[in-house]
């Protein structure tokens, strides 16, 4: 039997959680509600606070006029390509930094850290010049490389930290069991740090997913644009089709939400890893 005090505490807790859920979810709801409103209402005072489903066909027609599928595919390619590259190189670099003693190890760590200090806008022009030289301008692969330059150090630090926590004995035991170094990493270490890999994957994926500055600078071809640049192109000098922008934004957000939901449990485990003695 629950005492009145515990009942009150429980009610308070649920009220607080409910409030936070509403606060976090409201922008998404408002995005959906706005997308299914008429533009004329949006710029006046007559916006309806709930989605008007009868306007769905109009929204679909409007979005059909732009290559939103292509933009979404480009974004997916940039985000997942950058994630795979960051995790692969980050795991190798993290393992080297975690396990091997070599001259310049501290310097490598410092330089990786420095990449996070330098603002993207600062290296935009030098990078543009380099991309011209290497023929990477107007190429999705070039954009993936530019993004990896920023997400790789984060992945490297996250994975190195996780590898530091894996006892040496487990690795040495595998070496005694005739397991070569590379397989020690892929078969023993990486499965043990899956939560941290998931956390690094989220950071890398969303860095690529939300990327705008490099994409709007390096990609001229409309067909190569990611959704972020595509969305910005809706904004006109005289008119912005608000419902179409938010409709496209909704489509743009859904894969990211699905990705996050899929690995959220792993991320929480990764963020709290090492917090308590195992």
């Amino acid at each position: 039997m629950m005492t009145p005090r515990r009942l009150a505490m429980k009610a308070l807790r649920y009220t607080l959680i409910g409030t936070l859920v509403v606060l976090a979810g409201f922008p998404v709801y408002w995005m959906a509600a706005t997308a299914l409103n008429v533009n004329s209402q949006l710029y006046g005072t007559g916006q309806v606070a709930w989605p008007q489903l009868q306007h769905l066909p109009d929204l679909v027609t409007e979005l059909g006029n732009v290559p939103i599928g292509r933009w979404l595919f480009n974004t997916l390619l940039i985000a997942s390509g950058g994630t795979i590259l960051s995790l692969t190189l980050g795991a190798l670099a993290g393992y080297a930094l975690s396990r091997f003693k070599f001259h310049g190890r501290g310097l490598v760590g410092f330089l990786l850290f420095m990449t996070q200090v330098v603002p993207e806008a600062l290296i935009l022009v030098p990078l543009y010049a380099m991309f011209i030289t290497f023929g990477l301008l107007n190429s999705l692969w070039g954009l993936i490389l530019a993004n990896v330059g920023f997400s790789l150090p984060v992945a490297c630090f996250v994975l190195k930290g996780a590898m530091d926590a894996v006892p040496y004995e487990i690795e040495e035991s595998a070496i005694i069991d005739n397991c070569p170094r590379f397989s020690v990493l892929t078969m023993i270490i990486l499965p043990l740090i899956m939560p941290s890999i998931a956390a690094a994957a989220v950071v890398s994926f969303f860095a690529g997913w939300n990327e705008f500055l490099f994409a709007s600078t390096f990609l001229m071809d409309r067909a190569l644009w990611p959704a972020s640049v595509g969305l910005a192109s809706f904004v006109g000098q005289y008119e912005t089709p608000m419902s179409a922008v938010l409709g496209a934004a909704l489509v743009f957000s859904l894969p990211a939400i699905v990705f996050f939901l899929l690995i959220q449990r792993k991320i929480v485990a990764g963020l709290t890893a090492g917090a308590v003695k195992g």
Binding site: P167, E169, I170, E172, S173, D177, N178, F182, S183, L192
Partner: protein, 386 residues
């Protein structure tokens, strides 16, 4: 079969020397225990045998061949770690089978993703599955085969680690304090199990411990180490009865050997400063030395009946026997404010004698039970070599 030879093997970390010109032979099929206090270099030595640590200088020979630069896999050893080092993401079955699976891996199986498929397929291969099951049965692990290490007790984890070492049937087993994480009862049980295992497989075991009880009960030979230097290499009995120096005398035995400073004044022996003793046997012809006698070689008597007057300071009743710590009555004992036990003389008597702390008593000994040590370097003094 790997008879091992250490030829002036040294190991340094920067300026810090861990092992200093270590010389020893390990014979085929023996159970050799490396015994010493924490930080004496015994685990480093074991890691050098396994190829997990480099040798700074000297040679390590496997069957007469210099093996300093051999990869661990070429040495054909199995290693049981203090922390067990089981793979937490694998089941007990996968843990035990892992060395066999690795032996069966072709080079290209090590490619990422391919290795996952290859490992699962090899786990099902008849010879690997049968060998894994057979080892698991030997160590009574069959009901646990599909569990993960996290759900096992300490003793079960230890057995899995042993099974993983046994499965490849290596010639040399290296065990690094494998029982130190277990409770006292389980430690006794596992001690017997490891000894039985050694008899059964008949291979060479090199076992590192700081626990002298483990060393005495399991070893065919013991190497006692201190600060990276070998103190004595011998059988457990010899090490106990004839320690090479005061370090070994103190380290082996619980309670340790009683070591009392002795001096000779006008051909008379004096213990602990001013306590004149009628020794009635030859003693070293030097002015100062250390008088050593094991606690069980001392006898406890009422005051005035033994040659060494004493006062009971500590009584440890262990059931079948009692260990009594006494302070020798040198005439200066009232000025002695020290509380620590290392200046007490311990007597081990059977049963449960009625003695009280503070009671006056006396101790006695047989002259041929006494060992003499150099007062400066602690080395044993042999009367017949003087």
């Amino acid at each position: 079969m790997p008879a091992l030879t250490f030829n002036k093997v040294s190991k340094t970390f920067g300026d810090h020397s861990v092992i200093n010109a270590f010389n020893a032979d390990i014979h085929d099929g023996e159970f050799l225990v490396l015994l010493g206090p924490s930080g004496c270099g015994k685990s480093t030595l074991l890691r050098m045998i396994a190829g997990l640590s480099d040798i700074t200088s000297g040679d390590l020979l496997f069957d007469g061949s210099v093996a300093n630069d051999w990869e661990p896999k070429k040495r054909g050893v199995a290693f049981v770690f203090q922390t067990y080092a089981l793979y937490p993401h694998m089941t007990v079955r996968e843990n035990i089978a892992f060395p066999l699976v690795m032996d069966a891996f072709r080079k290209w199986y090590h490619l990422p993703i391919v290795n996952i498929v290859a490992r699962h397929r090899l786990m099902k291969r008849a010879d690997i599955a049968e060998r894994t099951l057979s080892i698991a049965r030997q160590l009574e692990l069959e009901p646990l085969l599909d569990r993960r290490p996290a759900s096992l007790s300490g003793g079960q984890r230890q057995r899995v680690a042993l099974a993983r070492a046994l499965v490849r049937n290596p010639d040399l087993y290296l065990l690094d304090e494998p029982l130190s994480n277990l409770d006292a009862k389980l430690r006794t049980q596992m001690r017997s199990e490891i000894s039985a295992l050694h008899h059964k497989v008949g291979k060479t075991f090199v076992y590192v411990t700081h626990d002298q009880v483990e060393a005495m009960t399991m070893a065919t030979r013991i190497i006692v180490m201190n600060k990276g230097i070998v103190q004595q290499v011998d059988t457990p009995d010899e090490i106990y009865d004839h320690p090479a120096n005061t370090f070994v005398a103190r380290f082996v035995g619980s309670p340790p050997m009683n070591l009392i400073p002795a001096s000779v004044n006008n051909d008379a022996l004096q213990l602990s400063g001013k306590l004149a003793v009628d020794h009635a046997a030859p003693f070293p012809s030097r002015r100062h030395m250390t008088f050593g006698v094991r606690p069980e070689k001392l006898s406890l008597h009422p005051a005035g009946e033994g040659r060494l007057p004493a006062q009971v300071a500590v009584v440890e009743r262990l059931g079948a026997e009692t260990v009594i710590g006494c302070r020798l009555m040198t005439g200066e004992e009232h000025n002695d404010q020290r509380l620590l036990e290392h200046d007490l003389v311990f007597v081990r008597v059977s049963g449960n004698p009625k003695v009280k702390i503070g009671e006056l008593c006396s101790l006695d000994y047989q002259a041929n039970d006494v060992l003499w040590f150099d007062i400066d370097n602690g080395d044993r003094i042999f009367l017949d070599q003087e």
